[in-house]
């Protein structure tokens, strides 16, 4: 290998003799010196900002409701301490006027309260839910410093307005530059900061500085290497040496990558050191971006090298490499458009099975029913343009109907626009969705009980509607199909008159997230439902288990009707809190609490922890859960990893071990549901394909691959082959993000139990790029070894 290593090392010398290299290195160090002063300091999370509110409407309603209450309430105390202008507006809200109060003004006003204590009255606050941090700060008394006092005040405000605030850590990161705070105060939680840095900031830097500028510069510098080698006086001398032409070409190619390696190494090592020294984020995975960036360069350089070999012109080599880059960009954009507007909208997010009918909600906001005979999906109502609607995960009611809802514009806004009616799908109506009772505002998830009740979980409340109330609202239309269309597309604005005529109190309650028509609060007021949260309903429907932000709660159906209608709090256990998604499910006669990257915990139905349970040979430390479901009569639980693989968890009576077995033959799983009737687990995978699993045998019993139509055909047979044949260099940024973050997915902000997940295409770009480089180098080697020079 001596001669070939000599060629490679000579390329390094050539690179170092290049002026462009030194210009690039100088630019890199200017950039590194520019970002090096960025630092941070940890501060307590005190200042309230508009994005700290998870439910601004509820906050306004709570403040407005209590501002003039004679009986002192925490919300009333706060409302009365707000500036005069906001108080006036809140009073107008209380009087039923449609007043818009800007959230940032409210946030500033609340922040102003942090410096005062006149609004606080311990006796008024005594019934609020007090987190451990709040209790500890109050216990510390007057010994705490000014910052801690502000933190204490914020926690009191949060406890006074439950269901209003996003879950935030106690400490935040405040960015500094050369020791000075950023002009715009920028406080985020440490884990958010890490996520932001790893998933976005570093990715963008690497994408643009390395993926674009450095590669362009690299091509400029290295385009002449192969044509120079082919100069007669140089080539004939090289070829007269006892070396292989193929290896000579490959060595020149590897050597050509030296330029980018030199630059990329300095930049990434510099960034790594800055992240470590200045931000305390020592992320060795960042260094793995060096080979990825060189790999990306190799894709373009392979084009340049082969063009240089064929035409012996550096200019032509540069031109072709750039043209190829443009082609990759066009195909990448076409692929992105195809993903965004064709494939992803069809991806199934949730599903329900009733008898032989499978109903799914798609990411594009469509509700569809599968036609097994036609092998196709039928949309149950016209899809909204842009896919901005959110379909609540459909649930099967005990009587065979399926309940769901369409939250208009609910994809980006949890509250949606206008009122949301439950949609009932009944076989008698040919499964056409028919409006039913109105749902509480910002409902995120529906549950059913064996008694036929419908339970709605929104951002702050758990509410229940009796089975008798879940009925179709007859609009009077005679024709059934017209009726369905009319009902589904009914305009919420037409209901304004009706709504404004409702009692003021009812309206305020609705603003707070309580639907007073059919739904009544199920959880007592002191129960926190702050995310991450998960609900499990006992097999008999008489107990509900709630995990919310570190609290594990059991509620039982009241034996005697009480005034509020809420269920009885049986027990509450405080667990170690975490921000990761959690899934609480019933398995056998126990509860299993699964949190990502930690071993699931078992609790008895009386919330006693069972420490004897163990998982045989399965490591949960790196297992991230995307969804989970109890199945097989609550005898087992199926969990789906965020990578889209399913695993079956089974307990055996008399054994403390929990068997974990993968469910084979299905990958890229998005949604799952349990078909009680046929005892089948249904999985949706690969966008909109279905598979039914016999849990007992752990084998696939039915597979449905729907026929593709329209643009899906174009995607399958035009765009996908093009993307397969063209190296997806643009997608390598996802590989970089996955490497830097150490995660193959990114979880988007949570609305329901599990966060929506974007899976990175980690391997596709690597494989397509590797295949392309191999192909180009093979062409180059064959040409070089066979050509006369």
């Amino acid at each position: 290998m001596g001669p070939y290593l000599a060629v490679v090392s000579d390329s390094f010398r050539a690179a170092f003799s290049s002026r462009i290299l030194w210009v690039a290195i100088a630019a890199i160090y200017v950039f590194l010196f520019a970002v090096a002063p960025i630092g941070y300091r940890e501060v307590m999370t005190t200042t309230i900002r508009w994005f700290d509110f998870s439910n601004g409407t509820r906050m306004k309603a709570m403040l407005a409701q209590d501002i003039d209450q004679s009986k002192p309430t925490p919300a009333g105390q706060i409302a009365r301490a707000l500036p005069e202008e906001i108080r006036a507006n809140l009073r107008k809200v209380a009087e039923g006027e449609e007043i818009r109060i800007r959230l940032d003004l409210l946030a500033d006003a609340l922040t102003g309260l942090l410096e005062r204590e006149d609004w606080y009255d311990a006796t008024v606050w005594k019934n609020t839910t007090r987190l451990r941090e709040l209790r500890e700060l109050e216990a510390a008394g007057s010994t705490i410093d000014a910052e801690s006092r502000r933190r204490l005040a914020r926690l009191r405000i949060e406890s006074a307005l439950p269901g209003v605030f996003e879950s935030r850590g106690a400490r935040s990161i405040a960015l500094t530059y050369a020791g000075f705070d950023f002009p715009a105060v920028f406080q985020i939680a440490p884990d958010q900061f890490k996520l932001l840095l790893n998933h976005f900031v570093l990715r963008i830097i690497i994408d643009w500085v390395l993926g674009f500028v450095m590669i362009f510069l690299g091509i400029l510098v290295t385009a002449s290497i192969v044509p120079d080698m082919l100069q007669p006086g140089s080539l004939h001398l090289l070829l007269s040496k006892p070396i292989s032409r193929t290896l000579l070409f490959l060595a020149k190619f590897v050597g050509g990558c030296a330029f980018v390696l030199v630059c990329v190494t300095q930049l990434i090592v510099g960034l790594w050191l800055i992240c470590g020294w200045r931000l305390d984020i020592w992320n060795p995975r960042l260094l793995l971006c060096i080979p990825v960036c060189v790999f990306l360069f190799a894709v373009f350089y392979s084009v340049s090298a082969v063009a240089g070999l064929r035409w012996r012109s550096p200019i032509l080599a540069i031109g072709l490499a750039n043209a190829f880059g443009a082609l990759c960009l066009i195909v990448g954009v076409a692929g992105g458009v195809s993903d965004g507007f064709i494939t992803q909208p069809d991806r199934i997010e949730s599903m329900a099975v009733s008898g032989d009918t499978i109903v799914t909600a798609t990411r594009g906001g469509a509700l569809k029913r599968f036609e097994p005979t036609q092998k196709s999906w039928t949309s149950l109502f016209p899809e909204a343009p842009g896919g901005g609607d959110r379909i609540l995960p459909p649930v099967a009611l005990p009587d065979g109907r399926i309940a769901t809802a369409r939250v208009r514009s609910g994809r980006m806004n949890v509250f949606g626009s206008g009122a949301t009616a439950t949609l009932l799908l009944d076989q008698k109506d040919d499964w056409l969705p028919t409006p039913s009772i109105e749902l509480p505002t910002s409902t995120a998830q529906l549950f059913t009980t064996p008694q036929g009740e419908l339970i709605a979980l929104n951002s702050s409340e758990l509410m229940v509607a009796d089975a008798a109330a879940i009925k179709i609202i007859d609009s009077g239309a005679s024709d059934r199909s017209d009726k369905a269309a009319l009902k589904v597309d009914h305009n919420p604005d037409t209901e304004t008159t009706e709504k404004t005529s409702k009692p003021l109190f009812s309206k305020l309650l609705k603003m707070m997230g309580v639907a007073s028509d059919s739904f009544r609060p199920l959880a007592p007021a002191q129960i926190s439902l702050v995310s991450p949260r998960s609900i499990a309903i006992a097999a008999d429907g008489n107990s509900i288990f709630i995990y919310a932000s570190g609290n594990l709660v059991r509620l039982d159906r009241p034996t005697k009707p009480n005034e509020s209608g809420s269920w009885t709090l049986i027990k509450s256990v405080i667990l170690e809190s975490g921000n990761e998604p959690a899934f609480l499910r019933l398995i056998g006669d126990e509860l299993i609490l699964m949190r990502s990257e930690s071993t699931p915990e078992f609790y008895s139905l009386t919330l006693e922890k069972n420490t004897t349970r163990g998982f045989d040979g399965f490591d949960f430390s790196k297992f991230k859960i995307g969804s989970a479901i109890s199945c097989d009569g609550f005898n087992s639980v199926v969990v789906v990893s965020i990578d889209g693989l399913a695993f079956l968890l089974q307990t055996t009576k008399g054994s403390s071990g929990v068997a974990v077995s993968p469910i084979g033959g299905v990958s890229d799983i998005d949604a799952l549901t349990w078909d009680k009737g046929q005892s089948r687990l249904w999985l949706s995978h690969h966008v909109d394909q279905l598979a039914a699993i016999d849990i007992a045998k752990n084998e696939i019993v039915t597979r449905y691959s729907p026929r593709l139509t329209g643009w899906r055909l174009v995607d399958r047979y035009v765009v996908t082959p093009l993307r397969t044949l063209t190296p997806q260099t643009g997608e390598l940024s996802e590989t970089i993000a996955a490497i830097v973050s150490g995660q193959s997915t990114i979880e988007l902000p949570m609305i329901a139990e599990a966060p929506p997940i974007e899976r990175y295409n980690v391997w596709r770009p690597v494989l397509t790029c590797a295949a392309f480089i191999t192909m180009m180098l093979t062409i180059g080697c064959v040409y070089f070894s066979r050509a006369d020079f």
Partner: protein, 358 residues
């Protein structure tokens, strides 16, 4: 075949450059070249531009593949790695990357010749001294003159102590002193048993250092052998005898062209030798005899003198390599040169021992 080791062995080598797709036509660069170069000799390759010399060298180095025929170096196929291990090559227009110094370039090419670092380190300084680059070895080659490049090229060709040196215009760009040094170096290498395959346009230089030469034209070898053989076989030595029948210089009317031809025919024969007899304006006969046989010339003078014919003058004229070169490359018909029946002046390859020194 000779017992002497054949270093370069070429047999009916053909190279046709194919025309581009749908355009151009095929070009026959070599049309059946056959030659051998033997161990320890300096072999010169001569020919006008386009004769096929460069193609032949490229085939020997493996840069170009032959269309048909055979070319071996050290009994290995030309272009094979085994063959190339024993070859040192100096291209005509040497190009060394600008970031090199003489020392780093020699280290680089030494590694390419599969020398170890220690071997390279041992050889660099003596070689630099040998080619006259000592003291300039750390300068970037971009500052080098053409002559310095050529010296560096020679050094890299010698670095791995090859058994065969293929030198393409080795003295190009060198000053007279440098040329003389190179010639001395070639002779020294020859004395060490190295074979040198020299391609040069400078015929004087070739005459000075080459044992044998091959003259190519139109892709064929028109002549090959020792230079003395080439110049002799291509026409031999011309002798001009100016004769008269009396001392006054007047032409004896008794003596005629036929008489003279009759007197000399037994010596030279009418077929074998070339003889012309011309009546000169100043009343004497000029006999032109083409022969390298001095005894026959002496015998002719004796015969003429016995017949009372005075020898007014005797002058010999030997042909130079340039004459031979020009006469051989002038033929436009390469096919004739290939056919042994029509070769005329074509000299078949032979070993140095078979050659006849003048």
């Amino acid at each position: 075949m000779s017992a002497i080791e054949s270093v370069i062995s070429i047999d009916r080598l053909v190279k046709t450059y194919r025309g581009r797709f749908l355009s151009g036509r095929a070009i026959n660069a070599l049309s059946g070249v056959t030659l051998d170069a033997f161990r320890g000799e300096v072999f010169g390759l001569l020919g006008p531009n386009g004769a096929g010399k460069t193609t032949l060298i490229k085939i020997l180095l493996g840069v170009v593949r032959a269309s048909s025929g055979r070319a071996n170096l050290f009994d290995q196929p030309a272009g094979s790695i085994l063959a190339r291990r024993r070859v040192g090559y100096l291209p005509e227009s040497l190009r060394i990357d600008r970031h090199h110094t003489a020392r780093t370039a020699l280290r680089y090419y030494g590694q390419m010749s599969r020398l170890s670092s220690s071997e390279i380190a041992l050889k660099i300084d003596p070689l630099l001294e040998l080619v006259g680059l000592q003291g300039r070895d750390r300068e970037p080659v971009r500052r080098f003159s053409k002559g310095m490049y050529q010296r560096l090229g020679l050094a890299q060709a010698l670095l791995h102590d090859p058994d065969l040196l293929i030198l393409d215009e080795p003295t190009d760009g060198l000053d007279p002193v440098g040329r003389s040094e190179v010639r001395r170096l070639l002779l020294e290498l020859k004395s060490r048993g190295k074979t040198i395959f020299l391609n040069s346009h400078i015929l004087q230089e070739v005459e000075l250092v080459c044992d044998r030469v091959a003259i190519m034209s139109y892709g064929t070898v028109r002549g090959i052998g020792r230079i003395s053989d080439l110049t002799g076989n291509a026409g031999g030595r011309e002798a001009f005898l100016d004769v008269s029948s009396n001392a006054s210089g007047l032409v004896n009317p008794v003596v005629s062209e036929a008489t003279l031809r009759q007197m000399l025919a037994p010596i030279f024969g009418m077929e074998g030798a070339k003889m012309n007899i011309l009546a000169m304006p100043e009343s004497f006969w000029r006999i032109r005899i083409v022969s390298d046989d001095q005894l026959k010339l002496d015998a002719a003078i004796d015969v003429l003198r016995k017949a009372g014919i005075s020898i007014l003058g005797l002058r010999t004229n030997r042909r130079s390599l340039e004459d031979v070169f020009l006469s051989l490359v002038a033929s436009p018909d390469p096919l004739n040169a290939l056919d042994p029946a029509n070769t005329g002046d074509l000299i078949q390859p032979e070993s140095p021992e078979q050659g006849v020194e003048p």
